[in-house]
Symmetry: C3
Subunit: 206 residues, 3 copies
């Protein structure tokens, strides 16, 4: 993947997660700075976790553009949340876009730093789900990844496409696009059709 293509994916994913963070903040009646903080936290937490685990200084700490993209998305959400909310499930849509883009990006970055296939899939999933986890924990709710429709499964599929393409020496950019599309479509169908993984059978309450 060229650096420009990676940066494009990265900032699109940052923007999408920042919108989801801002909307969750608005729904919890936070003030302007709370909206901006939650936008930034949702947008960068997955990438920060990925880079810390790769033993690197996170990109979003040294590059001001991540902050700028997050703040723009947060301000848009703050100002026009009424219009945004008129879209169908805007939190879920923006969250699913961020999930898809960061899952393929995280897997690709892990491979580029020498991790094996299992590590790359795991960092892809973590990059994808990290922002949503921090967003939800900060407003004291159970993160989507733990109980929503095929959330981590979709990130797994997206990261897997990237890792398999790498193992087969296929070109990286089309693989990233294919992985992101597969992740988004799977997550979106799961939301629309209510697909769920099996739940544990009811037992004796403990």
């Amino acid at each position: 993947m060229t650096a420009t293509f990676v940066a494009l994916i990265d900032f699109l994913g940052t923007f999408a997660f920042a919108i989801s963070g801002g909307l969750v903040a608005v729904r919890h009646r936070l003030d302007l700075f709370g909206v901006l903080v939650l936008s930034f936290a949702a947008a960068t937490a997955g990438g920060i976790a990925r880079d810390v685990l790769l033993d690197m200084v996170p990109a979003s700490v040294v590059d001001w553009r991540y902050l700028a993209v997050s703040l723009v998305a947060g301000l848009i959400t703050f100002r026009w949340h009424d219009q945004v909310e008129r879209l169908r499930n805007p939190v879920q849509v923006s969250d699913a876009i961020g999930l898809s883009l960061f899952a393929v990006l995280g897997a690709g970055k892990a491979l580029a730093n020498g991790l094996g296939p299992t590590g790359a899939v795991m960092l892809g999933i973590l990059s994808g789900v990290g922002g949503g986890i921090v967003r939800d924990v900060l407003v004291a709710t159970v993160p989507s990844v733990l109980h929503r429709e095929l959330y981590a499964v979709a990130a797994f599929v997206g990261a897997l496409v990237v890792v398999v393409a790498h193992a087969l020496s296929l070109p990286a950019a089309p693989a990233a696009v294919a992985g992101a599309v597969a992740c988004f479509v799977l997550r979106w169908l799961a939301i629309r059709r209510g697909w769920r993984l099996p739940q544990p059978r009811a037992g004796d309450p403990s």
Copy 2:
């Protein structure tokens, strides 16, 4: 401690914490992937925190066996949670085993990486309690370490045994076993007999 012995402790602790994470997930009615995610998070968070603070790439990110052990434990919990729940306090038992093994392992790993006694005891405690903290925060409850019977005290004792033995140049493997047993027995007696540390005297509610 030989590498084999360390690996044995590590995978046993991983398995025990993964069971505790899976059981907590089942009790919160999460679906299959939520059970697997919480198993993995509970099993690896303490070790990840320990390795990040030691400025290393965490073992569970580069070695697929941690993921495999967590998934097996999560699947067992998902499938047979009724039978597991028939044991006496299975969450507390598996949690206490993980706590004991990771406390001594974390202290030993910190010493091996050149930390002094205070740092080694602190990383031992963190390794022991980290998995349970992440597990409980993810389901939006107050972590056990903050209000349960002698939880962090037990991890402290386990880590202290390892650090004192190291200072006295005693052999590491028996010290690790002794520390883990001391930690587990203390935690278990505290649960069974309701031992508690003093609570603050009731004051004016604020």
Copy 3:
């Protein structure tokens, strides 16, 4: 800034945040160890996050004095919380002191490690708000930074003073004092006068 001056700020901030953590623990009826754990977590989480993002082993892990300061503050809180609570808003005062000191310290440490102005301001804010976030998440409440009066704005101002002074080659120690005072005064006035940032206009509940 001389090393002695930095250490003074650091231990004062550690003590202040540890008091705030201990008081929150007492209000949640935690036992002695819960009080000590929450004191230590509140006192060190911001600095640990800062150092991990700078790819360093955190100071509080290798230097026993952070633990000692936290434990002393925790024990004082545990023993004399009635008297401490008679002060006006002791959690908010100690929290505001810690916020101010860590915001300027974090920005200064980031500059000393080669980060640019945006990164230094961000790490200053994170150092300032990190301890309070972990403290509040551990007792399952929404962190102050997301909804309290000008909380992150105050940290932003404190860090900005340090970064601007550095850009103008002004002496670091007076800049740090000025930044900390500006942060504290802003936060304190916001609390006393109820200053708030705008909230989103009420829309259709979703």
